[in-house]
Structures are given as C-alpha cells and as structure tokens.
C-alpha cells in the first residue's frame, strides 16, 4: 500500500520551494515533483550550479534563489526531480514520468506551482529557427552559460532589459532592441507608481539596466510597429517600422518577449474556474485569499495564479503551506492567521509595482491580433486567418475550432496558441474572452510513451488499481 502524502507540490520554483519548506517545518509529509533535474524553477534555473562569474552576469536577484534551494535541501522534503506530471485525478492521484518510467503518488492536498509561460507573440517569421523567447535566452545563460551573439531583442517589458543588460555583462551585447511600447504607455504607467516605494525600487532597477544597455551603445527603437522576421530556413533579418521609416536589422538570433502569463494547464485539467484578468491580459484561476481554488484541496501559488514575480511567489507559497497545515490540524487557526499577516503585508508590497509595469509595457497589439497569414498555432501551423474563417462559419469557442482544424491539438496542447485563439474568436464574434472561453485541457498534460507506461512502477500501479 502506497503511503499517502499530506501535501504534494508540483513545481520547484520559488512558490513550490517556499511552500514545501514551510509545510515541512509544520510537520507535514511533503513531496515536491518537478520537471527539471535541479530545484529553482525557471527564474532560479540551475542556481546551485552557476559559477561565480555567471552569477555576476546574472545578478543578485538570480543568485538569491540559492537561499530557497538550500532551505529546501535542509527541510528533508522529498524532492523528485525530472518528474513530468501528466495527470492529476481522484483527490488526488498524481501520475508522472521519471527516468523513462511511469509512477504515481497520492496526496490529501496539492499545490500547483507551475509558474508562467511567455505570452505567445505570433508575428511573421516567429517559427523560424533562431527565433526564441526571451525566457529561453535567459535559460540558455542560467543553465548552460550560453549566450547568443548578434541577437536582436524584440517586444516590451522589464525582462527584455534584464536579458539585454546580462548580455552586455557577458560581453555579447545585443545588435539592437526593437521595443513596442510607446511614450504614451510610459506616461500611463507612471501614473500608477504613486507613493509605492516598491514601485520606485523596480523603476530604479529598470533604469540601471537601461543605463548598462545605453553605455554599450546598443541601438534602441521604441514604438516599433509592423515587426516581422525574415530568412531562408532561419532568422536572418528583423524588419519593422520606426518613426515612419522601414528598418532592417541583420541578426542570427531573435529573442521575443511581451510579457509572461500564468501557466494554467494543470489547473484547467482539474476543472478549476478561470476568469479573464484585464490587467494581466490573460486568464487566471479563481482563488480565495489563501490560494485555494474552487476544487477543494487544490491550491495555486506563484505566477500560475497570475503574474507577480519571484518574491511574491515565495510569500504566496508560504501562505498556502500555512492553510494546508491548518486544514490538516497541524496548526491552530489563530497561529495560522498570526503567521499569515506578515506574509500578506509583504505580498501587497511586492505587487505594488505591477500596475506600473502592466501599463508601461503593454503587450504588442499586432501580436495579440495577428494578420491573417501569420501562423498562430506553431504545432499544426494554423494561421490567424484560419481561425477568423472558422468564426465566419459559426465557430464560437476554442474547443469548437478543433472541429474545423487542428489548432491546439498538437504537442504543446495550446500552450502557445490558446490565448491567441481566444482573442481572435472573441473579436470576430464580438464576445468577451470569458464568454469565448479557453481550450478544455485533458490529461495527458504532456505526451507519455507506451514504453513509459509499460515501465510503470509495479507497487504504485497496484496501489492505484
């Protein structure tokens, strides 16, 4: 008989690590499942292996993650790394693949700490080899110490400046920054800074990174429109319009970024309710102020609950752990509330900069509503025009598109087309994103091979039967 965990956490980023450590301190039997081989999530990816010189390039906000990985190691929490979760069912049996074998574990309560995905940025040429997300550029640097030479950064948002500054520090400054935000976006953003100290801290950090980029004489083109990537079989030129003039910049790599969005795949597979959050420009799960969803026993913390960044994720993860401990009678309601209060205050401080960032760096409009011939579903190569034509034929929602074509049915299961399909259908049918809805997500959340199922661990399989 398989021993049931009090608490299983999916994801070993800041939210997952903080929740695991806190829950273990309160006496819970905790397991963390994570796809990566080492703890950290994407934000602190491979932080324990980074050399001192790489740490200097990446900066203190990155190396700070070693504090969380250390606490996780010391906590005695069972951390199953390289575990790809593909199903969560029946309150709660979690199926995953690890080292080529299927396995299952059971838990009373679960935390989905599955973080963020890059907001899809479908522009002409975005499927060409050499075009990557800015997050991918960061991962290359963090995990592998690999930098792109002659790269162009395209889009908007603080991550673009962070990676630009890191590339300068690494001695490979980007060839150019093609930025989509305008002066009026910035003015709108500044109205939100107000008296929030944390907002000003983030501003100062951003200005510091911009100064590094400026000192390296990296050309910046703000308010760029009509952006596309051209090349024979790989990215060779970024084209765009700037101040009324057409620009062409030769490159070998393009990093795209116009914000990140909550990764809701696992939450949706459990039937958790989601609503459209205007400020985030994406769907977010409906949660109470402990991070509990409308499926009892399922909690969500970190960027998967709506983008708040690494520090906010840490506080939210700890809050979940307190509530889980209280539910499991390991913590009195009084102590739970007492311990939660400083976390809630820290969370408010941490989120103070979000309204500024959201207003100053809005998503690139032409990528939210792409031209007809732009591919929006990378897996099945469906274009924006295809989706609009489905709407003309009476298609109202994303799940119906599957009756017309294969959008969202490829390997990525809609991760990089879902929000675009919702936006295109909502526009065409004059409906809100909430009325239009999102893909229904079903297990397996990630592809499973027959070999992995055949190699399913015997004891756990018996327990599941």
């Amino acid at each position: 008989m398989l021993m049931k965990r009090d608490f299983v956490i999916i994801g070993a980023g800041p939210a997952g690590m903080a929740a695991a450590t806190q829950a273990a301190e309160l006496g819970l039997y905790v397991t963390v499942l994570d796809e990566q081989l080492r703890a950290g999530g994407q934000i602190y990816r491979d932080v324990d292996r980074a050399s001192k010189s790489l740490g200097n390039i990446l900066g203190a906000d990155y190396t700070d993650g070693a504090r969380l990985t250390k606490h996780l190691r010391q906590s005695g929490v069972e951390h199953i790394s390289g575990a790809v979760v593909w199903a969560i069912e029946d309150e709660f049996r979690i199926s995953y693949t690890c080292e080529g074998r299927g396995a299952q574990i059971e838990a009373d309560r679960i935390l989905l700490a599955t973080g963020a995905l890059e907001r899809p940025m479908p522009i002409p040429g975005w499927t060409l080899p050499g075009v990557m997300t800015a997050g991918a550029g960061q991962i290359l640097l963090k995990q592998s110490g690999v930098v792109a030479q002659n790269a162009v950064l395209v889009g908007a948002g603080p991550l673009l400046y962070l990676i630009g500054a890191q590339m300068v520090r690494a001695g490979t400054p980007p060839a150019a920054m093609v930025e989509t935000q305008t002066r009026s976006d910035m003015i709108r953003g500044l109205r939100h800074v107000g008296g929030a100290l944390q907002g000003w801290r983030y501003m100062a950090k951003g200005l510091g990174m911009l100064a590094e980029i400026k000192r390296a004489k990296v050309p910046r083109y703000t308010g760029a429109t009509g952006i596309g990537i051209e090349g024979e079989g790989k990215a060779e030129v970024v084209t765009f319009t700037h101040n009324g003039r057409t620009q062409r910049i030769a490159c070998e790599t393009v990093f795209l970024h116009h914000g990140v969005v909550a990764n809701t795949q696992a939450a949706r597979s459990l039937g958790i309710s989601h609503t459209w959050a205007v400020a985030h420009g994406s769907f977010v799960p409906e949660l109470d102020d402990w991070g509990q969803s409308d499926v009892a026993g399922v909690f969500i913390a970190g960027d998967g609950a709506g983008i708040g960044g690494a520090k906010a994720a840490e506080h939210a993860g700890r809050l979940v752990a307190l509530k889980v401990a209280e539910d499991a009678k390991r913590l009195s309601t009084k102590d739970c509330n007492l311990m939660a209060a400083p976390l809630r205050r820290a969370l408010v401080r941490e989120l103070a900069a979000r309204p500024f960032l959201d207003a100053a760096y809005p998503p690139y409009g032409a990528a939210l509503r792409p031209a007809d011939n732009t591919v929006i579903c990378r897996c099945e190569e469906i274009t924006a025009g295809d989706i609009r034509s489905y709407a003309n034929l009476g298609c109202l929602g994303p799940n119906q598109t599957k009756a017309f074509g294969r959008a969202g049915m490829g390997h990525c299961q809609g991760r990089y087309c879902g929000l675009t399909v919702t936006a295109l259908l909502a526009d065409a049918n004059r409906q809100s994103p909430d009325e239009t809805g999102y893909y229904r997500i079903r297990p397996p959340l990630k592809p499973v091979t027959l070999g992995e199922l055949a190699a399913m661990d015997g004891t756990t399989q018996d327990a599941a039967e």
């Binding site: 790489l54 290359l140 690999v146 930098v147 030479q149 990089y416 070999g451």
Partner: protein, 102 residues
C-alpha cells in the same frame, strides 16, 4: 566537429562524443542537450509534420516541443535532457514525432 554557431559557451567543461545525424559532435558532458546542440552549430532540430518547415528550440522549458529529436530511436525534448556520452541522435522522422505517444 565544430561548425559556426551564433551561440557562445562562456565556460568550458569536459566534453564527450555523441553523434547527430551520423556526424560526430563533441558536447559538454551533462550540459543541457538543446543548448549544447545550438552551441555546436546545429540550427535545425526537426521539420514539422504539416509543411516540413524547419524548427529549432523556442522555449527551452519543455512547453513548445519544437526541439524534438530522436535519441536511440525515441523522440524526446532536447531541452529537457542532459548530454550523455555516446548519445545517437537523428532528426525525428515526420511520423516519429507522433508515433511514440499514446
């Protein structure tokens, strides 16, 4: 073998031999496989089953599946693996990308 790559490795690590489409490559041991292939000058990982368009790593975090490669006969995401000595890799056949799954 080392071909021209726009990607630069900042740090050196012990290298091991693998093969990519029959060509011997020397990659850093235990490095992320997708990153190591990019730095070794591999710029097309696979072709799409729909149009045959070339693809290479896009997200580096296991979400997009553009970095699929066939390793010892099994289609895997290169960005979710580490370099192991003796890996035999090919571009996945068009059906291969779908055939291994349930």
């Amino acid at each position: 073998m080392k071909t021209a790559s726009p990607f630069l490795e900042l740090e050196s690590a012990p290298r091991v031999d693998v093969t990519w489409d029959g060509v011997p490559l020397s990659l850093p041991e235990e490095a992320n496989l997708a990153a190591a292939l990019l730095a070794a000058g591999v710029h097309v990982f696979r072709s799409t089953p729909v149009s045959g368009a070339p693809r290479a790593p896009f997200c580096m975090m296991g979400a997009c599946f553009d970095c699929l490669v066939e390793i010892n006969g099994v289609t895997r995401q290169a960005c979710m693996l580490e370099v192991i000595e003796g890996m035999v890799m090919t571009r996945p056949s068009e059906m291969g990308a779908h055939a291994d799954e349930t």
